[in-house]
Structure formats: C-alpha cells, structure tokens
C-alpha cells in the first residue's frame, strides 16, 4: 500500500511540474474585468463624441473636413488611452496575484505567453495601420477582434485554458461584426468590454474566490 502511495505521489509530482513549467497560471481574472471596464468606458465616450459630431453636422448642414479630422484624432487618442489603462491594470492585478501566491511575474512561462501572443498581435496592429493608410476603416473593428482572438488562442497554450475560449469568442464576435459594418463601436464594446468582464469574472470565480491552497 505504502509503495502504491509513493508511486501515486510521484505521478502527481510529474503532472504538477509539467503544468507549472509550461503554463502561466497566475493570470488574474480581475485583469480581465479591469480591461473590460476601461473598454466600456472608452466606447461610451466614443459614442458620445460621434453623436455630438453628427448632431452638429445636422444643425449646420455641411461637413467640415477639419472637424472630421479632429474627431478622428480624438478617437485615435482615446483608443490609445484605453489600451494603456487596460494593459496597466491587467499587469497590476496579475502582478498582485503573483505576490500573493509567491509566484513569479516574469518567468519562463510568462515569457512564452508574451512571445506567443505578441506575434499575432503585432501582425494585426501593422495590418490595421495599413488599412487606415488606405482609408479602409470599415474592417478595423472586425480585424482588431479577429487578430486579438487569434492571439489569445495562440497564447492559451501557455496559460489558463479559459483564455482559449475567450479567444474563440472574440473571433466569433469579429466575424459577426463583418456583417454589421455600421455598428463597429457596439461590437467593439461587446468584444473588448463585455467578453473581458464575463471571462474575467469566470476566471476569478474559479481560481481566486477562495484563498488559494498552499502549494
């Protein structure tokens, strides 16, 4: 019997080591919730600004090229600001979790995760810029959701498996968005806002709600 227990323990050790050395498990669900919150806030402001612009356009009855440029610049800065805030808070909550669980923030697995997400993300980012270069704005939202979803699916091999399903959901929302071109902002808010909050909450509920058992 004792021998059998030893073998079982050895197998459990092997399993645990395989997992710990190949997956970054400290990713916090709160990171997702925070990123989703900023995305929704950003979408709200964008919606207001675009509404204001068309309201004034209807009153004055003519398009001023300069105002349109101004709106585009404001939206561009807003998108950049949301991205920065989302990344900062995502890093913060995950860093805090590594401190609590005595894990390491920057280790072998988080490096793998970062590299494997970066490849599709950087490709998508450059592709979006070339789309804007050719004044092709209609597919900016679907393309950003699709590339982000692919990056998550690719990175999910190196972290919690929930990320795979978040990635697949982003891809689905991105594909649906191609059929509703005028509603980009709505799909953007669903993909980057609602999905992040839902999956972030699920991850938090599953892994962080109760104090993590000492490992």
């Amino acid at each position: 019997m004792i021998k059998q227990d030893q073998h079982l323990e050895a197998l459990q050790d092997i399993r645990q080591m395989m997992q710990r050395s190949s997956r970054f498990l400290s990713l916090s669900g709160l990171s997702g919730i925070a990123a989703g919150f900023w995305a929704l806030l950003g979408a709200y402001f964008a919606y207001q600004w675009i509404g204001d612009y068309y309201h004034r356009y209807n009153q004055e009855g003519n398009f001023s090229g300069r105002e349109f440029q101004e709106l585009k610049l404001k939206l561009f800065l807003l998108a950049g600001g949301v991205l920065c805030l989302a990344l900062l808070s995502a890093f913060y909550f995950t860093w805090r979790r590594t401190q609590k669980t005595n894990g390491q923030f920057w280790n072998h697995t988080s490096k793998q995760l970062a590299i494997n997400m970066f490849i599709p993300l950087a490709t998508g980012g450059l592709f979006l810029l070339t789309m804007l270069q050719h004044n092709e704005w209609r597919f900016v939202v679907p393309a950003s959701l699709l590339f982000y979803g692919l990056a998550l699916v690719n990175g999910s091999k190196y972290t919690l498996s929930d990320i795979r399903y978040l990635g697949l959901s982003e891809i689905i929302v991105g594909l649906i968005a191609t059929q509703f071109i005028g509603y980009g902002l709505h799909f953007w808010a669903i993909g980057f806002g609602v999905l992040h909050i839902v999956y972030g909450f699920v991850m938090w509920w599953k892994n962080e709600r109760k104090p993590a058992p000492a490992q």
Partner: protein
C-alpha cells in the same frame, strides 16, 4: 518477458525527486535554461548541477552552452532516449498503481 513485468520500465535514475522533476519539465518544454530550472525546482545551484550531470551522462539530456551578452546561458533539452525512458517510467508507475488494485 519485459511485457509481462510491470516494473520493467521503472528507471533507477528517476528515483530521485529532483531528477524526476527535471525530466517532467524538459518533457513539455522545447528547451529550458539553468536558472528557470532552478526557480521551478527550488534547489541550489550545486545540487541541480549534479543531477543535471547525471542525466546528461545517462544520455537523457542535451546540453547547449550559449551566451546572453557576456553571461553564460546553458539550456537543456530532452533526447530521444530520454523521452523513451521517461515514458516507460510513467507507464510503469501507472501499471503498478493499477496492478495492486
């Protein structure tokens, strides 16, 4: 003969927890460097180095000595022989657990 003997696959070299840990890690990573191994296994330099040498001498590990800037960066990867030995070892452990039931 070996087929009927459930413990034939057990490998004496993997009796040690640290060596078993190293094999578990290299079996799921393309390659891994010394510091990452040390961090994951929570062992001292000297202790880890001894076990790594044993595994290398048994032909289970490939060692690659490189540089990152001026610092040496030694990476380890599993060999074909290592993969087979590790797989057999796990199989034997499983057989024994099942066998006693």
């Amino acid at each position: 003969m070996a087929v009927n003997n459930p413990i034939a696959g057990l490998n004496k070299i993997f009796d040690n927890r640290i060596r078993l840990g190293v094999m578990s890690i290299v079996s799921v990573n393309e390659e891994i460097n010394f510091n990452d191994l040390k961090q994951l296994l929570e062992v001292t330099d000297g202790n880890l180095a001894t076990h790594l040498q044993t595994l290398e001498e048994s032909g289970f590990l490939k060692v690659h000595k490189g540089f990152v800037g001026r610092k040496t960066n030694t990476t380890y990867a599993i060999t074909k022989a290592g993969e087979k030995a590790f797989k057999d070892h796990i199989q034997a452990l499983e057989n024994m657990i099942r066998g006693v039931k």
